[in-house]
Amino acid sequence: MNRVAIVDYGMGNLDSVARAVEECGGDPVVTDRAADLETANRIILPGVGAFPEGMRNIRFRSLDRILREQVADKGIPLLGICLGMQLLASRGLEGGETEGLGFIDGEVRRLVPGGEDVRIPHVGWNEVVVEGDPPLFRGIQPGKDFYFVHSYHFCCTRREDVLARTPYCGGFVAAVGRGPVFGVQFHPEKSQRTGFRLLRNFLGL
């Protein structure tokens, strides 16, 4: 069984993610301890909140260094969810400029309303259009809805890091991936069957 470390940096719906991982057959541990992260064979970086506070909490616990070792050096698969996905970027522009983890090139900007009745935050179910055939989305029908709740989005520098997009505010990046690092803007742990399928795919990578 997969030992899944859910990174606790004081922000986010940790319990929901842990319960979803359990339902998907993983063995979750909610933790901020280096020892747990070093023994896990999957890492999930969840997150609800603001970018600067998120990075501050991660640095305060020295989790940035540990994550880099596990992911970049050892190749342990990492999934960032919502704010956790955004923190993978080079920098965030929420409340000033903040340096991110820098695992995937790009920056996090506020959504800009494109049309008449486009409201921000983007809250609710919206379709995710997958580009190519990434293993993370295996078995998920194209255009399936996932649950989103966010005001900022990930702007990728490299096109090949984009795994999926969602048609809102002119289209934004819904999923990123490079090597063992993945990020999704939506909440798979709250997206019922479709979300669980994605989590199972992640556990099975």
Binding site: S16, A50, V123, D145, V149
Partner: protein, 252 residues
């Protein structure tokens, strides 16, 4: 395209769920855990869970209860009732809430909304506004589950909430609540047109067509309803089928 959400509202008091009329005359409608399990199986879009006795009794949210409920809830969950501080919010998010609704504390201290938004992001702050119609056609904000008049105008409160960083407004008409006579379209439209964050219409839904009206005429982004699901055979799934027939985008 973003889908219209149909959100059952669960009101909790003492040991179980209740539903009243005009924030009064409460009837027991079963256990929260049972309701969550059923809605989970039916894959509803989102749930609203409000503990309506917490603020009146001057106590914090029942974190242990929310923890238990959230463990069975694999759909988005908004939790409210008794939230008075940013630490209450952190704890509710930790035990499994996805968004937190603030009502009385937001009316008394709008700075709290700002503090929560700064720490946890706007997207998880739902400002809940309970409004009652005044003689002059305007609306007044009520707190403490509809028990206390604040003298504050509902429209002013909504604009102020957005300015403080609220991510959504849960807008409930006190006098329509539980009557199943339809949403207050004028109230919903007035607020929806004055803010650029999503507005969830609540209070008065009696049939699927009421949802259509509040989406079309009230310009709501989502619909919340309780009595229709507790006391009639109507379901969230059938509601969405009806909305689809009327040309709305919904999720199946």
């Amino acid at each position: 395209m973003l889908k219209i959400r149909v959100m059952p509202t669960l009101l909790h008091r003492d040991v179980g769920l209740v539903k009243g009329i005009g924030f009064d005359s409460w009837r027991r409608v079963g256990s929260a855990m049972q309701a969550i399990k059923v809605y989970n199986m039916r894959e509803v879009d989102e749930l609203v869970f409000l503990d309506i006795s917490a603020t009146r009794e001057g106590r914090p949210p029942d974190f242990a209860l929310v923890d238990e409920l959230a463990d069975e809830c694999f759909m988005p969950l908004t939790v409210g009732g008794g939230v008075r501080s940013a630490d209450d919010v952190r704890e509710l998010l930790r035990v499994g809430a996805d968004k937190v609704a603030v009502n009385t504390a937001a009316a008394e201290n709008p700075r709290l909304v700002r503090e929560i938004a700064d720490r946890f992001g706007s997207q998880c702050v739902v400002v809940s506004i309970d409004a009652r119609k005044r003689g002059d056609g305007g609306y007044e904000v009520f707190t403490h589950s509809g028990a206390v008049a604040t003298g504050k105008d509902a429209l002013v409160a909504a604009v102020e909430a957005e300015g403080c960083g609220a991510g959504e407004i849960l807008l409930t008409s006190v006098e329509r609540d539980g009557t199943m006579s339809g949403y207050d379209l004028a109230l919903t439209r007035m607020v929806s047109e004055s803010v650029s964050i999503p507005v969830i219409a609540s209070g008065g839904c009696g049939c699927y067509e009421d949802m259509v009206r509040v989406l079309e005429e009230g310009k709501a982004s989502a619909v919340a309803a309780a009595s229709i699901f507790h006391f009639t055979q109507q379901t969230p799934l059938e509601a969405k089928r009806h909305l689809r027939e009327k040309g709305f985008e919904v999720r199946f």
